[in-house]
């Protein structure tokens, strides 16, 4: 499964005006919280399919992120591959997906499981793009997945329910938070994680020839701005009596909820 390392979700985020990139130095890195659901989904599947199933953590990240990747191993993944190179820094959605797809191809896989979003970039574009570059069916926003007889069956979340779709393996799935709360690591898992391998892959190892990263990006960030301050909430209390009820009704009507 793929994981991204993101700045601590509670840390204040800052964009460097010169590079227009998120400042990642001096902030602790954590596993992208959405990817913890991908790990959970992968481990559930492994528990179901039993021995002979290997869960590999695949991450494009600087080598300094090893400690964070190890957390995924402590949760129960078998091993990890880190695609690492300074030249990959600043990759956009396409380059990230391309590089990961190359790396995954090189490593080999039956099923790729991704989180549906990253906490920092929040584009949600990478899983679909990886599937495209891999040339395998891509099932996004899965709330449940199952593998049987070499086929994948997925429940895809929609706005008002879910669709059940199935397709052949190899394939790619991105999962939502509905797959189940990510498990805690255990002390044994943590102590065992140091014996598991984290292999390092360079772009050359992955057979990537063209320049990627900031120089190869197809997209350019033109402008950025902090989110506008939220306006004060309207407060209606019991003291407002019937006029309060009317105000709530008007509000719901305005939002097309009533």
């Amino acid at each position: 499964m793929t994981v991204k390392l993101v700045p601590d979700v509670n840390a204040e985020k800052r964009i460097d005006p010169a590079t227009r990139r998120l400042v990642r130095t001096g902030v602790d890195t954590v596993l992208n919280p959405y990817d913890e659901y991908a790990i959970e989904a992968a481990l559930q599947l492994k528990e179901k399919l039993g021995e002979g199933t290997t869960v590999t953590v695949f991450s494009m990240a600087p080598e300094s992120g090893k400690e964070t990747v190890r957390k995924a191993l402590a949760m129960g993944a078998d091993d990890a591959v880190m695609l690492t190179d300074a030249g990959l820094e600043g990759s956009d959605v396409w380059d990230t997906a391309f590089a990961l797809a190359q790396g995954l191809k090189k490593h080999g896989f039956d099923l790729v499981i991704c989180g549906s979003l990253s906490d920092d970039g929040s584009t949600g574009g990478v899983p679909g793009a990886i599937a495209e570059y891999l040339g395998v069916p891509g099932f996004t926003n899965a709330r449940h997945l199952d593998v049987a007889d070499g086929r994948l069956r997925v429940q895809r979340e929609t706005d008002n329910g879910y669709q059940t779709v199935s397709g052949p393996l190899p394939a790619l799935v991105s999962v939502t938070m509905a797959v189940g709360e990510p498990r805690y690591a255990s002390l044994k898992g943590i102590m065992g994680a140091k014996k598991k391998t984290i292999a390092v892959q360079t772009p050359a190892d992955a057979g990537i020839a063209q320049p990627l990263g900031a120089s190869g990006a197809k997209t350019e960030l033109l402008e950025f701005a902090p989110p506008p301050a939220r306006s004060k909430a309207r407060v209606v209390t019991a003291e407002d009596g019937p006029s309060g009820a009317a105000a709530i009704f008007e509000f719901l009507k305005e939002k097309k909820l009533a």
Partner: protein
Amino acid sequence: MTAVASKRTGNPDPVDFLDIDALLSGEERMVRDLVRDYVRDRILPNVAEWFESGRIPRDLGRELGKLGLLGMHLEGYGCPGASAVAYGLACMELEAGDSGVRSFASVQGSLAMFAIHRWGSEVQKSEWLPRMAKGEALGCFGLTEPDFGSNPAGMRTFARRDGSDWVLNGTKMWITNGGIADVAIVWAQSDDGIRGFCVPSGTKGFAANEIHRKLSLRASVTSELVLSDCRLPEAAAFPEVRGLRGPLACLNEARYGIIWGSMGAARACYETALGYAKTREQFGRHIGAFQITQEKLVNMLLELNKGTLLALHIGRMKDQHRAHPHHVSFGKLNNVREALRIAREARTILGANGVTLEYPVIRHMNNLESVLTYEGTSEVHTLILGEAITGEAAFA
């Protein structure tokens, strides 16, 4: 402690001011984060309720067992064999939740399991330890008696020989987890000196009565154990150990955990007080802008960071087998005393809010009164250190 937000500005973190985090290994930080996340998700939302109703869910054992935290510093028999520092960090995070929760883990791992691991027969070890590590079986540790607390050598509980059996009579008092334990480690006088026994809770002649109306460590079961002609086979006795050396070795383990745990409680109080001081306004400004509040907070900051460094130092010594029981007395005495001061000071900063269970402070403050007393009172540790430096025993 995590040093996150303020790394950017270059200022030290307001909690982990000395960046003690940087002295931990990646693995140690992972253990710390695991327990911290667990406490945030499962303990903090419920513990005020447990405290108020004076109970602790029995299921806590299985949860802590699943995380691998019960007997985590023991090796073999299903125990992970973590370092003393990792164990300490777990105690710190558990007690940042509640001293009752940390006591639960301490009694299980450092008193009951440690006693079996250190002094038990092979049969006792394989019978109890794997289940206790999983939290499927709970243990308690009965040393204190109604009339013998600081002076356990005088204990009256007696184990009499009857053929190849033992017959135990006596009363143990203030026994954490007594009423929920599956096995009680009971220390008793015998013709052969003090001996230790594994007493399964279903044994005829064994009863545990819960002690009510505590105003401290309420999220913890405390019981009286009554042994009346409680008959046990020879195999229930710890084979080798005689004398107070047996229980004292266990107490040394649990006391070590308290050095860290107390700083967890202190950190929770300090963080709460700091947050409160930065938002509560009086006279048109934050109360944190008043000099007296700042002095209180700074004194708390100093002792919290010094105490945490001390815990880590003694932990590293323990991992190198250089920690003497006197070092553990040093840590327990200092850190519990300072944690209690921090809690009381934090209480004042919260004003009236400081006396409710809406905030964790008074809960920690009340809990720490028990922590000050059990595992050797602060007076006893003072006298142990007094004897260590003068060569004169003032307490015997």
